[in-house]
Amino acid sequence: MRQSKSVVKDNKLGPLIVRIAGLLIIALTLSIGLFLVIRGMGTFVKFHHSITEFLFSSNWAPTDSATASGGNVGAAIYIAGSLLTCGLALLIVLPFSIGAAIFMTEISAKAGKKIFQPAIEIFVGIPSVVYGWIGLTVLVPFIRDVFHAKMGGYSVLAASIVLAVMIFPTITTVSVDAIRSVPDSYRRAAYGLASTRWQVIYKIVLPASKSGIMTGIILGLSRAFGEALAVAMVIGKTRAFPKDLLSPTNNLTAAIASDMGNTASGGEHNLALWSMALLLLIISVTCIFLIHLIGARAKKNERA
């Protein structure tokens, strides 16, 4: 016969309030999701466009009136613009991020803590508008003058470089954490087998921190997809697929940022922009899902 313990009496109000605060966050997140889904589905439900049209057609000519329909809402140019700039940004930043992370952990941990950490904090601290402003005042004229770009330097390349700088701290910080968590015994074992430092890094440390670095990459990508104003300032906002890296195009966030306020609420154009916002939400939730997937797989591999 067991007597279950009686719980200590606690203050009633305090715990209730903190619980409500927790529930409020859930409610807030759910309502953000819900509102975006409702608004974003309008293109397909209210105006009966197909999802295929939205994703794959490049015919973007929505009517801008509260009720009239009949336009086209193919967002492929914007989607391609986002994919292209983010992909290119990732290619540009990866060697720098991973190189910096290795430098901060394996080559000079002291410089890593004392110099690089604060430097990265400055990278993080610079607001995105300021990155856009730098892109506009430095990068765009540079590309115009050096590569003789036709559209005055506003280009996929400019947008990608700006994005690369902006996601550099995210990928680097997460990679540093991942590399730091590789047990030292691995390194000692490898050095004991007469490896050079680079061999230790390349053959032991990087593979062991692979999933952490992947997490950083996805976090960085997710940030790049969502970045609006900095990209909008340098991408040129031209509704055409780019012919090359030096030509301008447009992307999801820039379109939303510049057009949302100029469209009739609830109209075809307006709702198409909301569909783009919904797409951004889906991308960012997918990224979180991927990160959890990677984490779960890494855990499983550790046990196996």
Partner: protein
Amino acid sequence: MSDTILDINKDNKEENVKLEVNNLNLFYGQFQALHNISMNIKANKITALIGPSGCGKSTFLKTLNRMNDLEENVSINGELKLDNTDIYKEMDALELRKRVGMVFQQPNPFPKTIYDNVAYGPRINGIKKKAQLDEIVERSLRQAAIWDELKDRLHKSALGLSGGQQQRLCIARTLAVEPEVVLMDEPTSALDPISTSKIEELANELKKKYTIVIVTHNMQQALRVADDTAFFLLGELIEFRDTKKLFSYPMDKRTEDYITGRFG
């Protein structure tokens, strides 16, 4: 009843029983950590609980002020009475902890000033007047024999004190709530010999006013400070008697093996 050797209960009927434990069992989930413990802890005495690590002595100590309530998955049955009132059925845990204070193995001052550490208990129990708090802080620190060392730095952080001073501060903090019983869970295991002997002297002084239960795995310490000693093994109370008798004429083979150092 169990087969514990408890001549103490018969020997000293005339003495005041402060804590009465009858057939106490404690479970962590399915695992039974304490088996049928019965013992009477006498007022104004020091009772030592000894035994090898994992024998249940600390677990038992925690049941005396219901600190085990904080852990998940613990269930107990049996009877535990403080001055004839059942502490699990008839008493609120907070009420109980006011009357039964606890000093922990590691000194654990709050990251506050020395003064605020000692005044913490009285304050949460509603004492707000500065004069009254001043008086309690001074009295408690004096009782813990550390007033002279600390009186000039009452408003400095408690974390700057040495380990031994911290532990005596924690004792003062416990005394400030004016408990009747003070539980000490290996209070000197983290301290140097000089601090240890100070705490032991202090315990001897404190028993005039308080009932003290001390867990120790230092048998010499039990012999030095305790009036009564209880020997625990594998969650059972094996023998509980006057300290001198227990150490000179252990009645159970297992007690003898332990105190002569054959295991533990």
